[in-house]
Symmetry: C2
Amino acid sequence: MTGNRLERLRQQMKEAGVTVYVVPSSDCHQSEYVCAHYRVREYLSGFTGSAGTLVVTMEEAGLWTDGRYFLQAERQLQGGPIRLFRMGEPGVPKVKEYVREKLTKGGRLGFDGRVMGAFRAAELMREAEEKGADTLMTEDLAGAIWEDRPGIPDSEVFLLEPCYTGEETSGKLARVRAAMEKAGADVHVLASLCDISWLLNVRGGDIPGVPVVLSFLCLTEETCVWYVRRQVLTENILGKLSREGIAVREYEKIYEDMETLAEGRRVLLDRKNVNSRLFHAIPKGAKIVDESNPTELMKAVKNGAELMNLRRAHLKEGLAFTRLMRWLKTRAGREKITERSAAEYLDARRREQSHYLGQSFAPICAYKEHAAIVHYSATEESDAPIKPEGMLLVDAGGHYLEGTTDTTRTFVLGEVSEEQKRMYTAVCRGNLRLAFAKFLYGCTGYQLDLLCREPLWQMEADYKHGTGHGVGYLLNVHEGPNAFRWKQPEEGETPAVLEAGMVTTDEPGIYIEGAYGIRTENELVCRKGAVNDYGQFMEFEILTRTPIDLDGLLPQEMTAEEREWLNAYHADVYRTLAPHMTAEEREWLRGATRRI
Amino acid sequence: MTGNRLERLRQQMKEAGVTVYVVPSSDCHQSEYVCAHYRVREYLSGFTGSAGTLVVTMEEAGLWTDGRYFLQAERQLQGGPIRLFRMGEPGVPKVKEYVREKLTKGGRLGFDGRVMGAFRAAELMREAEEKGADTLMTEDLAGAIWEDRPGIPDSEVFLLEPCYTGEETSGKLARVRAAMEKAGADVHVLASLCDISWLLNVRGGDIPGVPVVLSFLCLTEETCVWYVRRQVLTENILGKLSREGIAVREYEKIYEDMETLAEGRRVLLDRKNVNSRLFHAIPKGAKIVDESNPTELMKAVKNGAELMNLRRAHLKEGLAFTRLMRWLKTRAGREKITERSAAEYLDARRREQSHYLGQSFAPICAYKEHAAIVHYSATEESDAPIKPEGMLLVDAGGHYLEGTTDTTRTFVLGEVSEEQKRMYTAVCRGNLRLAFAKFLYGCTGYQLDLLCREPLWQMEADYKHGTGHGVGYLLNVHEGPNAFRWKQPEEGETPAVLEAGMVTTDEPGIYIEGAYGIRTENELVCRKGAVNDYGQFMEFEILTRTPIDLDGLLPQEMTAEEREWLNAYHADVYRTLAPHMTAEEREWLRGATRRI
């Protein structure tokens, strides 16, 4: 099927004179997750992961994806005509290097400019230019061959009340305008859906798992125009927008409005998330101020109300997750449980909680060797029955009005090997070392990542993914700019300093192909610690409230300090969850959070 | 005295129309240490530290220095007219910010372009331009008022034989020329004295403690011209140079030769270490390729012969240092020992070793509260008598034909408080955690630094200096690009990836003003560890061979792993030193390296 689609794409390429065609994974907003309408790369390649780039030439086709998806992509591309390029592995060319190699003088690079970020597009166009090839960037060649392509959902927009956001839109707009002035800009174009939803205190349902509204926003000192599809707006929303002086225009009008920007306007935008077509619509006479959206940092730093809410969201999620844990550890082998039914059990426990809006991403419920596939998703065929043996990895999260959660636990359901326990213990030690770190203000996640990895590195083991990502508030569960990663940032990227109020996951793991996978993930909120002659110390508060399964641990391989940290965490888990549990549950929880 | 000199400088400034005059600490090669002739900043300010910038206006004068020198500068500037600016402290402006503030429209910025790096000069000139001021950069105003200014030494140059360098000049030149080609350059101007000495396999005595030769070098595909003062060359050297096709020109000729560079030449140079006058001598028609000198990374990565030699150098240094340790710990209180006599004792023990050439920097021998001054240097007045109590910090190093050493130990000479022991233990733990780290290839010292600092940070304590610096081979004891630091690099600086063969110090500390100071420093050479599916693991070998004083340790505050690391290190120390010691010394060493 994939082969046939590629052939039809090549037919299109031939007609347009395109010799190398690049298909990213994104929508018109550089979103990480996209609605079905925009899954062109998946349609063409059959690879369903969230991150990947397809490059098609007349002779070859290649798919680039990162370490989280190596095993999945291998499986999904197996036997097909598309070659897998494992990003970041030694000797593997980057997309732009491959494009450069494949382009020849007189050749033509093609891509859909609406779904390609302006920064990335410029990089590729530079490669083309240097090889004497030109670029065709308006045609959606791949979309043209897609029969029965899904439409864009028309989910209604809803308001997020001040008790959840902690700050009115007027206040946020004032802060953004002050940032524009500081950057020397008089126009600001926003394409990032999470940034726009945060700024306007609205949420929608245009992307599965990410409650945002497909839209653009253009801000000046006096005006604010929201480019959005009218059919998703209610009277209630229109009233709020009008009171806040926010004008509404049709979604597609942004392109022509950009073309009419006056000479000399100074336009603040982030070339990394404004699409290429939009960027090129801006007249040459305007000055581009290419910086991160001011909203990026603002929304990453959660305010007091958001943090209070998040603690409540994590209490609810903790109750659901802990109930799943108890069910699995007491019922596995006694009743029929599978990977999918376990995920469903967890979601049912969430639905018993108030203000639950849905899953924040497709849950990973992976038994035994399935857990070695970092982003495993159980299908009807793969759905493994769970027995009282081995380990089950559950990585899942929910959206509540009180915020978004993301938790991973690896449950020990019976006998596991000594090696598995050693690995489980090293993962847990790394998780604790990061969570209980103290550090001077100014450190970045690129530095702290090592604290987490060192116990595994001492065993000459590693996990091929970042240690953690920022978490949105009822937005994308992956959010920048904060992250824990050890690999050097790309050129032009500056690692973000950890600020009080930032929420980041702490999720080390270990994956042994064909055997097992382990990951332990908590969410950490950064906060100020002591301030003294040495400076401002920073530390973390753990938001997640679910026991770490003690049955996998070798306490003698932990330091006394690490054991004390875990005991302190478990005491917190017990203290917060117990009042909301039945006597029977409490009894069990006491055991699950016992001191070691 | 300082006030008088400043007034005479201001007279000069007035005559030249200069309103803000900047005096860096450097010579014409951006050397860290300089010979007496170039100590203009010290002459004007009275501050004797190796790093600092003086800025003089008609009304004010300020001195900028870093955390290593805060206490020393405070003392040396006390009561004088110069204000101390503590670099990196919150609220303290940078030199360029201060210069910007002080310059007014029509004002004039002045500095000696020969002793100011081109990169830094450009930054300052940009500030001037933005304020509508101009820049005068040829006049050495400060030098003009210096009566009895010392001359430049005429120390003879000597050859370093292949058994010490491990690579002939011809091989090094070929590697540099290949790097020039890769960078797209056809001319390469070298001003860094260490790089030139490394490249030509020569050493000299033009800077105290740094055996280099004041000179420039200009390389093309066919030619190599060494600009050097003839009087320091011997027949032997001239013969070698001639055989290698290296031409010799007078030192000062570099400036006029640069002016004659043809249009279109592509000149590779590092604006961070080429001086401003030299940089501006290059015609505008030449294209500047502003990159690090290829020699910087080449000389940082020690080859097999150099590493073999370094192990021998550290055996000799270890014998001297360990003998000092034994003498102090057995004789303090029984004979008259002072800070200066202890340093002298150490140097005498070095002189008993073969191939010893002299100290690699002014030794720091600091008793009790003196040790809180990070770069303390005992004077005749301050020279404290050493009693059998408290702690003595000794930071010292030597140059041998087999390489350069840098060691710090803090010796416990009698009763010390529980707090001191807790701090001593935390410093030792940090030192060991870094030394025994394993990490994947690609990590930088900006990441690894945290492993060392974390034990102190957990106690909400810190040291206001980097954790470590690269070490030259019979060159400057401070060498880039490798370093362990946690503070974010300046804009435009990229932290260096740790490569096998790089030698870096590991020297955490703690400094309590008026009370005590602790530092433990070993030199680490980076080497390849296991390679597996996760990638290439890297680790360190400890070069330094001197016991870490067990009398300061609280073993119960260390993890079992940390105790094992220390035991393994001490076993190594005993194994290498014992065969070279007397029976009595061996007996004592066995105790000093006992298992804990």
